[in-house]
């Protein structure tokens, strides 16, 4: 490996911050969900990078050697569940209010 760890972390950090910006600034609810996906992906990148650089040789086949990968798999699953329910909510709101703009969805404001 000739690429140092911090470069991977930097890419993940950039991805995470782009995700934050998308979530905070976009008006479209689907775009906000896409921002969340970016952030989850950045987390995964960090998990795998740390797994690759900090796991000692020979430990892989033993217990605990693939913790980073296992965590990443669970992040995938949570992301899938999140996007499924999130998009279903977007569709339900769109059907009743004909909008997917997050600001207009203020049913609870009374």
């Amino acid at each position: 490996m000739s690429v140092p760890l911090w470069m991977f972390l930097l890419v993940a950090a950039a991805l995470f911050c782009l995700g934050i910006f998308t979530v905070l600034s976009r008006r479209n609810a689907i775009a906000i969900l896409m921002g969340v996906e970016l952030m989850l992906n950045a987390v995964n990148l960090n998990l795998v990078a740390f797994w690759r650089y900090r796991t000692e040789a020979g430990i892989i086949a033993e217990r605990g050697g693939v913790a980073g990968q296992a965590f990443a798999v669970f992040v995938f699953i949570v992301a899938a569940a999140e996007v499924a329910v999130g998009l279903a909510l977007v569709i339900a709101v769109y059907r009743s209010r004909q909008t997917v703009t997050a600001e207009d969805i203020d049913l609870l404001k009374g």
Binding site: C17, L18, A61, A70, F76, A79, I91, T101
Partner: protein, 173 residues
């Protein structure tokens, strides 16, 4: 950083990742933003390969690009608000500021780690006996009651609940 195939590939995939992420944040056309998300996810898959986790790279393509992205594209089509005159809300300056602050903070933390010369940052060679990059180990860990068995089954439950919930929310009746 020496110039070899690995660093070139890293640069390529990192550029895809960040460029795609940027596209998600700024593109006005929502469909293009979703395609840009695909690009970012593909870049991340490439980075997973470079990190010796080909299983995750393939899962990334299968789940994120093959399923989640298609779902997102579908909903974009269903809701037909693809190009809007004003893609950002009133607090977008605040959002940009928050993102920059977060980037600065993360950058400082990463700087604390030091450059690539710090000894504990040298990657460890994968053990020669695991030619499958730890997929079999992952398989036995996932169903090991002492390790991830409970998350494994709970993940299945979560999926079922999400499936049933999403379908009952999205259906017309």
């Amino acid at each position: 950083m020496p110039i070899n195939l690995e660093t070139i590939a890293f640069t390529l995939f990192a550029a895809m990742c960040v460029g795609g992420g940027l596209g998600v944040a700024v593109l006005r056309n929502l469909f293009h933003a979703a395609l840009s998300l695909l690009l970012a996810l593909f870049g991340a898959a490439g980075l997973f390969v470079l990190l010796s986790a080909p299983f995750l790279a393939m899962v990334q393509i299968l789940v994120y690009m093959g399923a989640i992205a298609i779902l997102i594209l579908f909903v974009i089509m269903l809701t037909q608000q693809v190009i809007v005159p004003e893609p950002y809300n009133r607090q977008w300056v605040l959002g940009a500021l928050a993102a920059l602050v977060a980037l600065g903070a993360l950058f400082m933390v990463i700087a604390q780690l030091g450059g690539g010369d710090a000894p504990y940052l040298q990657p460890q060679p994968l053990a020669p006996e695991v030619s499958d990059s730890g997929i079999a180990a992952l398989g036995s860990d996932l169903v090991d009651p002492g390790r991830y068995l409970v998350p494994f089954e709970v993940a299945g439950l979560l999926l079922t609940v999400a499936l049933v919930g999403a379908i009952s929310i999205a259906r017309e009746d």
